[in-house]
Structures are given as structure tokens and as C-alpha cells.
């Protein structure tokens, strides 16, 4: 019981965020540009071209709840933790928020990108640490920036297949500490040293160590197949689509401004408070910095010099953070007395050339998932796209809005069109909120659910790009309130 109380004191329920939300939101409404829907009260759901995406004979799968730790710039308050600590915090937050019994989960899946070698199955370490029953199996998945999307869709698959009813999925990324390895030469020597039988053999191996052995190996920042860093590829992508520096800076500023407004209005209700051991309690994302166009214009390009357009300010920053969602079959959720937030509907994973189309996942995924669901762009009320780089977002929007691109590269007759900006990433995005690679997917899905609730829409769309030239898109349907 000591343990439990500890845990509870670590996670202050975000009650303070809830109180007065509506009032503050209404107060600020006028200053918010572009318009963030209307009012806090439930808008009447407008029936779209399809009343629902439910299919006969297919289980409805629902998002019951979604939470995340505050997303912090790497090297700040979380600096001394380990990845599973963050994941643990997210899981405990979910438990707390849903009052889910600790043995009521069938399976736990986590996504992560840069693995801490000591906790390579971070899902297992975090779930044990979070107090879940040790009878619940858990595994870890990786697919770059869409890792937690894979965690969620894996859960959807398990439910659809009738294997499970209740899934916890999540993602975690911890960039304050990354595995830096000895060089291959040194590793080889050390492993040989392990096997050496005599003192003579050991001494001769130690004697063979040279300066070159001591050069460390940093985790690759570059795409393995092309040796190009993502920022460099983003800059080329922006240039290919003729995205200007100004457009990128404007989009970055928009993201930070909207994130700040959402934070101030208390809309980011998925954020839980987290008492960091040895440090203060953290309750807010700390990367949101609305600046001015003049300030942004001063920055030099970060990757392609001197004529590039991608800068530190119009890129997402290295972030620590974790997220978690509770996914259930609708029947089970209702049986357990939950009020689901949304249905998780059709989803697709796409992949293309990792060199020249590294970050075009949303452009390829969006039309594909819409076609699967039988929806059009206009049917979507809420868009949440992962913002890796402002240039990448603008490029994807232009690709979606180009007949030539649709015909030449996607084998489509016409474009699907770009999302309307007044529906697009209205509570900020990865550029401003932060982007812990493995955790972003759950944030996107939870945000869509919350926005649908808040804004009263029916359908939402999540899309994201990922290293390796891959991408993901998912349609989310509001749960009738």
C-alpha cells in the first residue's frame, strides 16, 4: 500500500486543468485565429456522406481514453530518467484516469525508436513497473515516427481477430540519453577478451587497443539506406514542392501560436502531471514558444547551407515523452461501464522511396485511407497530421492538392485536395508540442478524439510520415454522445 500511495502522489490528477476550462476558452475565443470551432458545448453532429463507418459483421473498436506525459525538450527535467520511467508514468496516468483494474488488460504494446538496450522490450519493463499484473504479456514495436501507431493498430488487429478485448497501447521516446556504443573494433576486442583464457592472451588483446578503437559510435541520425539525414531530405522535399522559407516559418509560427492557445485554454487534456523523482512536478509541455516572423527569419538553415530553408525553428525538436491509450471492443467497454471517446476505423500503412519521398507518407496515406473508408476530404472535420518539419507539412499539402502528383506518382485520376486549414492541427502539432518519436502517434489519435468531442465533428483523420519512406493514416469516428 505504501507503493500505491507513492504512485498516486507521483501522478497528480490533472484536475486543475479541467477547472474553468470552458470559461477560459470562451474568453479567449475571439483572439484565436484561425477559428477553433465554436463553443464548448456539443455541436450537433452533421451527418456526412456516410452516417457511420460501422460495417456489419466487423467488431467496433473504441478509444476509451488517451493520456501522455508532458512532452519536454530533451535534456530538461526528464534528463536523469530512463525510457521505461516515462512509459510507466503514462501507463499509471492511464490507470488513474480510467480507474482500470490492473488485471483487466489483455495485452500491452509499446512503440519506441531509439532503444535503450537494457530495456529493449520497454513495454514489459514499463507495464511491470506501472503495477500492471505480471500475467499481462507485453511487447514493443518499432516503425520510426509511427511506432505508436503500429502499437495501436496491432491492438486493433488483436481485438478484430478475437484474441483480446482490452489493449493498452502507447509509445515512448527518450532522447536525453541515447545508447552510444564503443566502436566495432573495440567491441570485437572486448568480446575476444571475454573469451581469452590466459593472462597472456588478455594482455596481448589489451595491448592491441589503439586510439582508433576509442572513437565512439553515435546512434545514426541518417537514413540507413541513403545516408541522408532527415532534415536534409526535408529541405530537398520543400524545394521540390517549391515551399518557401516564408511559408515554412509562417506554418511554424501558426503551430506554436495554436499550441499556446490550446495550452492556455486547457484543451490539452490528455496531458497528465508527472512528479519527476528528485525534481519538480511537470504538468505542461515546455517546447511551445510562439515567436515572431522577424525572429524566425533570423535563423540560418540547419541542414542545407547556405541556401536551404529548413531551420531549427521550423523543425520539430528532440523531445522526451510517453503516451498511452486504452483501446477496447465497444461491447467490452460498454460492459465495463466506460463511455468511449471515439471509434478507430480504417487505417493504412504506406511506403515509398526513402530517398526522394522520405516524408510524403501523409500524401500517400490520406487518399488511400479515405478510399478505404469511402469518404471524401470534405467529410473530415478534424485533421491531425504529424508535423516533422514545416516544410514537410507544406510539401504534403501541396502534393495532396496537385493533380499532376496524383496522376504521376499515385496512380490516381485526380487529386483528393488539401485539408482545409481551419480544420488542421488546431491545437498545435509536433513542431510546437514536441515530437517524442515513438509517442507521437497516440497523441495524434487522442487529439482527434478530443477535438471531435470539443468541436462536434463526426470524422477525423490522422496522418504521419516516418523514416524509411513510410507513412500511416487512420480514420476516427466520433462516438455518439
Amino acid at each position: 500500500s505504501l507503493c500505491t500511495s507513492n504512485i498516486i502522489s507521483n501522478i497528480l490528477p490533472p484536475v486543475s486543468l479541467w477547472t474553468g476550462t470552458a470559461v477560459r476558452y470562451l474568453d479567449k475565443k475571439e483572439s484565436v485565429k484561425p477559428v477553433i470551432s465554436t463553443g464548448s458545448e456539443q455541436r450537433k453532429v452533421q451527418t456526412k456522406s456516410k452516417k457511420t463507418l460501422a460495417k456489419p459483421g466487423v467488431k467496433n473498436i473504441v478509444l476509451v481514453e488517451g493520456v501522455r506525459t508532458p512532452f519536454l525538450l530533451s535534456g530538461t527535467t526528464y534528463a536523469d530518467l530512463m525510457p521505461h520511467d516515462l512509459a510507466r508514468a503514462a501507463l499509471q496516468g492511464l490507470l488513474h484516469k480510467t480507474s482500470l483494474p490492473k488485471d483487466a488488460v489483455d495485452y500491452i504494446i509499446y512503440g519506441t525508436v531509439i532503444q535503450e538496450v537494457k530495456t529493449s522490450n520497454v513495454a514489459r519493463e514499463a507495464s511491470l513497473g506501472a503495477g500492471f499484473s505480471d500475467k499481462i504479456p507485453s511487447h514493443t514495436v518499432t516503425m520510426a515516427c509511427i511506432s505508436s501507431n503500429v502499437a495501436m493498430t496491432t491492438g486493433v488487429g488483436l481485438i478484430t481477430a478475437g484474441q483480446c478485448d482490452t489493449i493498452v497501447a502507447g509509445g515512448v521516446e527518450f532522447m536525453s540519453d541515447v545508447p552510444i556504443r564503443h566502436s566495432r573494433k573495440m567491441r570485437k576486442t572486448m568480446l575476444a577478451l571475454n573469451r581469452a583464457k590466459t593472462l597472456g592472451q588478455r594482455l596481448s588483446l589489451i595491448g592491441s587497443i589503439r586510439m582508433a578503437h576509442l572513437t565512439p559510435e553515435l546512434p545514426a541520425v541518417a537514413e540507413f539506406s541513403t545516408a541522408e539525414t532527415m532534415g536534409h531530405s526535408a529541405d530537398r522535399l520543400a524545394a521540390a514542392f517549391g515551399v518557401t522559407r516564408l511559408e515554412q516559418d509562417e506554418f511554424a509560427l501558426r503551430s506554436h501560436t495554436l499550441a499556446k492557445q490550446a495550452q492556455d485554454a486547457g484543451l490539452l487534456s490528455d496531458v497528465i502531471s508527472f512528479k519527476v523523482p528528485g525534481r519538480d512536478t511537470v504538468a505542461k509541455d515546455n517546447g511551445i514558444r510562439p515567436s515572431s516572423m522577424e525572429q524566425l527569419a533570423k535563423l540560418k538553415p540547419a541542414f542545407i547551407k547556405p541556401h536551404g530553408t529548413v531551420t531549427a525553428a521550423n523543425s520539430s525538436f528532440l523531445t522526451d515523452g510517453a503516451s498511452a491509450v486504452l483501446i477496447m471492443s465497444e461491447e467490452k467497454a460498454l460492459a465495463m461501464g466506460y463511455k468511449p471517446k471515439a471509434y478507430l476505423r480504417d487505417f493504412v500503412f504506406v511506403s515509398q522511396d526513402p530517398k526522394d519521398q522520405l516524408l510524403l507518407g501523409p500524401a500517400y496515406g490520406t487518399p488511400k485511407v479515405l478510399a478505404r473508408a469511402g469518404l471524401t476530404m470534405d467529410d473530415i472535420d478534424v485533421f491531425e497530421f504529424h508535423e516533422a518539419f514545416a516544410g514537410q507539412i507544406m510539401a504534403n499539402l501541396k502534393a495532396l492538392d496537385s493533380d499532376w502528383f496524383a496522376q504521376t506518382y499515385m496512380g490516381r485520376k485526380v487529386k483528393v485536395g488539401a485539408p482545409a486549414m481551419e480544420k488542421f492541427n488546431l491545437w498545435g502539432g509536433s513542431l510546437s508540442l514536441g515530437h517524442p518519436f515513438g509517442a507521437t502517434g497516440c497523441r495524434l489519435v487522442t487529439t482527434v478524439a478530443h477535438r471531435l468531442l470539443k468541436e462536434g465533428g463526426q470524422y477525423g483523420l490522422v496522418a504521419a510520415c516516418a523514416a524509411g519512406g513510410q507513412g500511416h493514416a487512420m480514420v476516427i469516428e466520433a462516438y455518439p454522445q
Binding site: 539506406s225 522535399l237 524545394a239 521540390a240 502534393a399 502528383f405
Partner: protein, 762 residues
């Protein structure tokens, strides 16, 4: 019998890369000169004039008279336009900035004075560019070679794309010329004296990143992928945008043209400022050139001379020396020969048999030996699925390792990434059986050179391949019709004679029989071109063309050895004539056993004409284990890891047994050289006479690229034209008196000797 093709090193040294500046322009009367501009146009974007080049009649831009005239017009207009403060020079062609000067413009001149004048006009034009009060930015995407490079370096600033197609270089030396439009004067100042010599004397292509490091370009632009336009189109647009920014930056002094010099640069400048150091460099470079070229190539020496004149006596003397030397070089037989080879190579990179009915997508290779694996290596990275089949796991694994190593070496040279290696290798299947052969479009066999084995293989293969599949045999001497005798469908049988090492040697000799169908030939040529080969298509017969020319020369070499000339001396005589590899070394590389085998086979086929040296010399060598490099001993002793080699001490002993007394009247150094060469040349001419060869161009290309015939002579046929058939016949008659029919000139050669108007090349 891979050995016969071990002539690898031969043409690698000199005749390697002729893919360069020239373009064939029809010299028709050009009326359009008086009409609107068609090659150069410009558009004013605010304060920057964007000058675009695009030759409407060609895939590449060349500095033709037309292009130059329009450029001068445009340049004058840009200078006169007060709204324009700077200019960008760019090509609208994807993959080509300017590929060089128009070779035909030079070839149309009759005297060196005319060529000198051309050079001076070019110099003048680029001087105006260099001194332009409005900065000009050269925006380079694709090849920027020869005159194109000289144009670019006359501009104030250079931006280049990192595209694989972007290469900068001064390949004039490979045409026996020099950079004649200020290149010898500007390059040393731009990239330093050693760097400039390296560029101009090797003529090698420099990639964009290297060019940036050398100081040849100022800024690099990444090629773009798909966007709202095609990648090629958008990349050029992007390059233009960046270049415009640079042009404005220069005008607004945000970009300084005089860079602050680093410490290294200052030290280097100081050192190069010492006259003594420069003298040492000239001496050193001169020595290297003489050692490599044996003084047979005048262009490198003239390049050194022109650079020296500029640096030591000032720009006026330098530019004058450059123009005059350019004029002189253009009139040399060496330049004529090299330009001939260039044109020949271009011709042999085309498929004169048309487009095959179905493209080869699946290719199977039998035998994973040196040749088989080599063929796999040049095929697998061309988008063709390649099956490598051998009979043993050991043989197969050795072959697969060869392919892997070939690709891996490219990673070390940064030509490909490890990822590209892996994905390329995914198209290679190694196997011991015939599974999957039902999908093969072409099978190339590279099994042991034994007619019985070849017959067995052809029967086995024909039992499993589909009806459309082509059966190509990689043999160096066995007549194709003898191999095809075992085939159920001789129209699908063809010879593909590769040279070893396959990945280095450019030549592919394709042999057709009377029964080979045209579509089969078209398909074989198409595959060869995909593999990057220069192709000659010849008729069937013992030794086809290349092996047949080589055999009498080797027979003569053996006789020369028997007459007491030691291997080192023999090598010196042959390399002194221009062969990249000496005759004795060549025999070791080919393999003494292979040479013996070929000598015997062709001796039987052609009779006493192929005599000369005693075949028993070779046979005895083989018996004693002196099989050449592969056995560690041949004419020389080879120690692994050592580059230098000594004459095999046992060889004197052996040759003593077969000693012949030389006849002093035909044994001077020069006579020995002509004895070797005349037999080669006579046999080549006979191949043309008998219709084995399609024409003299293919004969020259085959001899130079396959056998290392001296490139400065341009091949056996050009040699006859230049040297004079009558003079050659005269020499042969003299040798004939001593040695008999080995030196009897063939009828075609005699015809040419009789009538001095008869020439192989126009």
C-alpha cells in the same frame, strides 16, 4: 581459357574514357543564323538576366560557331541593359551544361593557323566574360567538359548540382589536344598547379563534391525528387533559383568573390611562389609524362609547356602559347588517331541491328569462373535479373564472392552505397541446377573451352530454356558454328567474347554465324550495351577478329625470344611502340598454356602463315609449370605482394634449347617492332578482306580496346593510312625474304599500297 581475355591492363591505361566532349554536327549550310536565336536565349528576372543555352538539334550543348555567336549577341545585350546587374548562365538540358567544343569545327580546319585562330577567338570571348562588370554565375547541371568547363571557369561564380550526371573536366588530352580557350591559364590559378596538371593531363571527370573541395565550384545544390514537376525539370529550376540568389548576393556584396585565404592556402601560395619549386614541379610532371607516354603523345607535353609559359612569362605569352600549341596539336596524327577512336567508340555504342523483339530481363550465366562472374557483375546492376550457375559449391561461392567484391570496391570508391550494393545483389541468384531456366531470356555460357563440354552444355540448356531464349557462348577461339552444330536452333546461337577482367575491359566482340538471326544479334548487342560495352560485331571463323590478330604477333614474339632478345627487352620494344603492355608480359597475363593452345589451334586452321616461333617453346614452358602469372612463373617470376618482377632465370636455359640465329638485316630494334606490328596489322586487314570485319572502324576499335593496339596510332587501319600501305608492304617484303610467308602482305593491303588514294578512313 579466361586468360586470353586477360588483356585487361592493356587499354585501361590510355584508351579508357573517351566519353567526352565531341558531338557530330552536320556541317550543312546554316541559314538560320540570320533568323531568330535558337541556341541561346535570356530572360530578365528583376535585376538578373538568366541566360539559357539549348541546342535544339542535339541531346547535348556544344560550343559550336552558332552557339558562340548567339552567346556573344546575348552577352552584349545583357551588358547594355541597365536594369540588369548580374547574370546566370544555365543550360535547359537535363544532364548537360556544355559537353565541350564542337570537334568538327576543329576538324574542318586545314592548317594549324586556322585552329590557332579558333582558339584565340575562344580566348577572347572568355576574357570578356571574365572581365564582365556584371557578375556572371555559371549554374552547372550535368556534364561541364572541355570548352564548357573553360566557359564556366571564366565566369565569376559557379554553382553545381550534386547530380551523378554533373561532371567537370578537361578531357582534351584524350583527343590529343589541350584546353585551348584559356583553360591552361585559368585552371592553375583556380585549383593550384598540381591540381591543374592532374586535371589536364589525365582528362578525368571530376564529380561535384570533389570539384567543390578543389575550389572549382563555389556552391553545391542537391538534386530534387518528385514534387509538382518532374525531378529533372524542378532541379534545373531550383539550381536557377539558387544561382539567382548568388548573383544578387555578389552584387550586394553579401557573397565576396575574394575569399579569405586559410593558413594552408597561404603556405601553398608561398611555396608555389618560389620559382625553384615550380621548376621542380615542371620537371617532375614532365618526367612522369615521358615515362607513361614514352614520348608518343605530344599533347601532355604541350599542356605543360603552355602552363609554364603563362606562369613564368605572364598571361600574354601564356595565352599565345596555348593557342599556338592548340593549333599544332590539332594537326598531329596522334590527335587525328584519338579523335578517330572517339568517333569509332561512339559508333560502337549504337545498336545497328535495331531494337530486339523482346528485352532481356532474365539472364543466366553458366560457369562462375573469372569470366562468368565478371559477366554477372556487369549485368546484375543494370536491372537484369541474373542467375549464376556453376557445377560445384566451391566454384559458385568463389564467383559470388567476386561479384560481391566488385560491388564492395565501388563502395570504397564512394561510387555506390552499401545499401545499393545489397539491393543490387538481390537480383543475383547463385545455383547449381537449371531451376528457373524456363524463364531465361538469354543464357551466356562461360564454361571450359572444350568443344565437347560446350556441346554437352548446349544440349542440357536447350532442354530447359523457353523457345525465345538466346544461347550465347563466351569463347575466345572456338568457331561458333562448331559449337552451334549441337544446337536444335542455331538461329538463336551467337558468340559473345568478353575480355578479362570483364568489369574493366570495355570491348565486347560479338560473333554471328550464317545462321544467327538478326533479332538474336540485336538482342546480344542490346545486352552488351546495357553492360556498358563498346561492341564490334564480327563474322565467324577461327579466332574471329581479336584472337586472330593477336596470334601471329605472339608467334613472332616467341621467335624474337628464340633469337635471343630477353623478355625485358621485348617488353620495352613493344611498349616503346605504344602498346600499354609489353608482349612478354602480355603472354604471361594471357597464360602461356592458353597461348600455346591458341597458337596450335589457329596454326592448324591457317597453316604455315601462323608460324614463326616454335610452339614447342610454349609447350615446354607449360610442361615445366611456367604458365604465366597464374602459376607464379612464366617469362617472369611473380612474387605475391611485389609489383616489380624479374625475368624467370630458368627461361634462358629453356630458350637456349630452341635458339635461333637472328638475321642482322631484320633484327634492329625498329625491325623487331615492325615485325611484331606488321603481322598484327596484316592479319587485321585480311579480316576485313575476308568479311570477318564489317569495316575498318570496328577493326580499329577492337584492336585498341580489346588488345591494346597503340591508341596513338588509332588502330591497325588508321595506322596503315597514316604510315602508308606502300611503306608497310616494303618492310614486309624485306621480312618475307628472310622468314617467308609469315610476312606475305594480303591482297587488300597490296591494293592500298598500289594506290595511295585508297584509304580505310576518309
Amino acid at each position: 581459357m579466361a586468360g586470353v581475355r586477360a588483356l585487361g591492363a592493356l587499354s585501361r591505361i590510355t584508351a579508357r574514357r573517351y566519353v567526352l566532349s565531341g558531338k557530330i554536327v552536320l556541317n550543312s549550310f546554316d541559314l538560320s543564323f540570320f533568323l531568330a536565336r535558337t541556341h541561346v536565349n535570356y530572360e530578365v528576372k528583376e535585376d538578373v538576366a538568366v541566360i539559357r543555352m539549348n541546342d535544339p538539334n542535339s541531346k547535348v550543348n556544344t560550343l559550336s560557331v552558332r552557339m558562340q555567336n548567339e552567346m556573344i549577341e546575348v552577352f552584349n545585350e545583357v551588358l547594355a541593359n541597365d536594369a540588369v546587374h548580374s547574370a546566370v548562365l544555365i543550360s535547359s538540358k537535363p544532364g548537360c551544361f556544355i559537353a565541350g567544343a564542337d570537334i568538327n569545327m576543329i576538324q574542318a580546319c586545314n592548317t594549324s593557323e586556322e585552329v590557332t585562330k579558333l582558339s584565340q577567338e575562344g580566348q577572347k570571348m572568355f576574357e570578356r566574360i571574365e572581365k564582365s562588370p556584371k557578375p556572371i554565375v555559371a549554374a552547372i547541371n550535368g556534364s561541364c567538359l572541355g570548352g564548357g568547363l573553360e566557359f564556366a571557369i571564366a565566369c565569376q561564380y559557379r554553382v553545381a548540382t550534386k547530380s551523378k550526371k554533373t561532371v567537370l573536366g578537361t578531357p582534351e588530352v584524350m583527343l590529343g589536344l589541350l584546353p585551348g580557350a584559356g583553360g591552361t591559364q585559368r585552371l592553375p590559378k583556380m585549383v593550384g598547379i598540381p591540381g591543374a596538371f592532374d586535371m589536364m593531363l589525365t582528362g578525368r571527370n571530376i564529380k561535384a563534391d570533389k570539384a567543390k573541395k578543389m575550389g572549382l565550384v563555389h556552391q553545391l545544390v542537391d538534386p530534387l525528387g518528385p514534387g509538382l514537376k518532374s525531378p529533372e525539370e524542378r532541379t534545373i529550376e531550383y539550381l536557377e533559383e539558387v544561382a539567382i540568389q548568388c548573383a544578387r548576393g555578389i552584387v550586394h556584396k553579401k557573397i565576396l568573390l575574394t575569399k579569405k585565404k586559410g593558413m594552408m592556402q597561404k603556405v601553398q601560395d608561398y611555396v608555389m611562389g618560389i620559382a625553384f619549386v615550380r621548376q621542380q614541379i615542371y620537371k617532375n610532371v614532365n618526367g612522369k609524362v615521358m615515362k607513361m607516354s614514352k614520348g608518343l603523345y605530344p599533347a601532355p607535353l604541350k599542356i605543360i609547356e603552355s602552363v609554364k609559359a603563362g606562369l613564368e612569362q605572364g598571361p600574354d605569352s601564356g595565352y599565345l602559347a596555348e593557342a599556338q600549341n592548340f593549333g599544332k596539336l590539332a594537326m598531329t596524327s596522334e590527335s587525328n588517331a584519338l579523335i578517330g577512336l572517339y568517333h569509332g567508340q561512339v559508333a560502337c555504342k549504337k545498336n545497328r541491328f535495331g531494337v530486339p523483339e523482346r528485352p532481356v530481363k532474365n539472364l543466366a550465366i553458366l560457369g562462375a569462373g573469372l569470366m562468368g562472374a565478371g559477366i554477372a557483375q556487369v549485368t546484375v546492376d543494370k536491372g537484369i535479373h541474373t542467375v549464376l550457375k556453376d557445377t560445384t559449391v566451391e566454384g559458385l561461392s568463389r564467383g559470388q564472392q567476386q561479384v560481391y567484391k566488385g560491388l564492395n570496391d565501388k563502395i570504397k570508391k564512394k561510387a555506390i552505397t552499401s545499401f545499393e550494393r545489397d539491393s543490387t545483389l538481390s537480383s543475383l541468384t547463385g545455383q547449381l541446377d537449371y531451376s528457373g531456366f524456363e524463364k531465361a531470356d538469354m543464357v551466356i555460357e562461360a564454361v571450359f573451352e572444350d568443344i565437347n563440354i560446350k556441346h554437352r552444355v548446349i544440349k542440357e540448356v536447350e532442354a530447359v530454356i523457353p523457345p525465345h531464349c538466346i544461347f550465347a557462348t563466351n569463347t575466345s577461339a572456338l568457331p561458333i558454328k562448331d559449337i552451334a552444330a549441337a544446337s536444335m536452333r542455331p538461329e538463336k546461337v551467337i558468340g559473345m567474347h568478353y575480355f578479362s577482367p570483364v568489369d574493366k575491359m570495355q570491348l565486347l566482340e560479338i560473333i554471328t554465324t550464317d545462321k544467327t538471326s538478326k533479332d538474336t544479334t540485336a538482342s546480344a548487342v542490346a545486352v552488351g550495351l546495357k553492360q556498358g560495352k563498346v561492341i564490334i560485331v564480327v563474322g565467324d571463323g577461327p579466332g574471329f577478329y581479336t584472337t586472330r590478330c593477336l596470334a601471329p604477333m605472339l608467334a613472332e614474339a616467341v621467335r624474337v625470344l628464340q633469337e635471343g632478345v630477353n623478355p625485358k627487352k621485348l617488353d620495352a620494344l613493344t611498349t616503346g611502340f605504344g602498346f600499354p603492355v609489353g608482349a612478354a608480359t602480355l603472354a604471361d597475363e594471357v597464360g602461356i598454356d592458353v597461348a600455346a593452345h591458341v597458337a596450335e589451334d589457329l596454326g592448324k586452321a591457317f597453316g604455315s602463315r601462323f608460324g614463326g616461333g616454335n610452339v614447342d617453346v610454349l609447350k615446354t614452358m607449360v610442361e615445366r609449370g611456367f604458365k604465366g602469372r597464374k602459376s607464379g612463373k612464366g617469362c617472369y617470376v611473380y612474387t605475391p605482394g611485389l609489383k616489380s618482377k624479374d625475368v624467370n632465370p630458368d627461361i634462358d636455359d629453356l630458350l637456349e634449347k630452341f635458339k635461333l640465329t637472328p638475321n642482322p638485316s631484320v633484327s634492329s630494334d625498329s625491325d623487331v617492332q615492325y615485325r611484331l606490328v606488321s603481322r598484327f596489322v596484316n592479319e587485321a586487314v585480311m579480316c576485313l578482306q575476308e568479311g570477318i570485319l564489317n569495316g575498318p572502324v570496328e577493326g580499329d576499335i577492337g584492336a585498341v580496346f580489346g588488345l591494346g593496339f597503340p591508341p596513338c596510332l588509332g588502330g591497325p587501319f588508321r595506322f596503315v593510312d597514316t604510315f602508308g600501305a606502300d611503306k608497310l608492304v616494303e618492310k614486309m617484303r624485306r621480312y618475307e625474304e628472310v622468314y617467308g610467308n609469315h610476312f606475305t602482305p594480303c591482297q587488300l593491303l597490296l591494293d592500298h599500297a598500289k594506290d595511295s588514294n585508297k584509304r580505310f578512313h576518309k
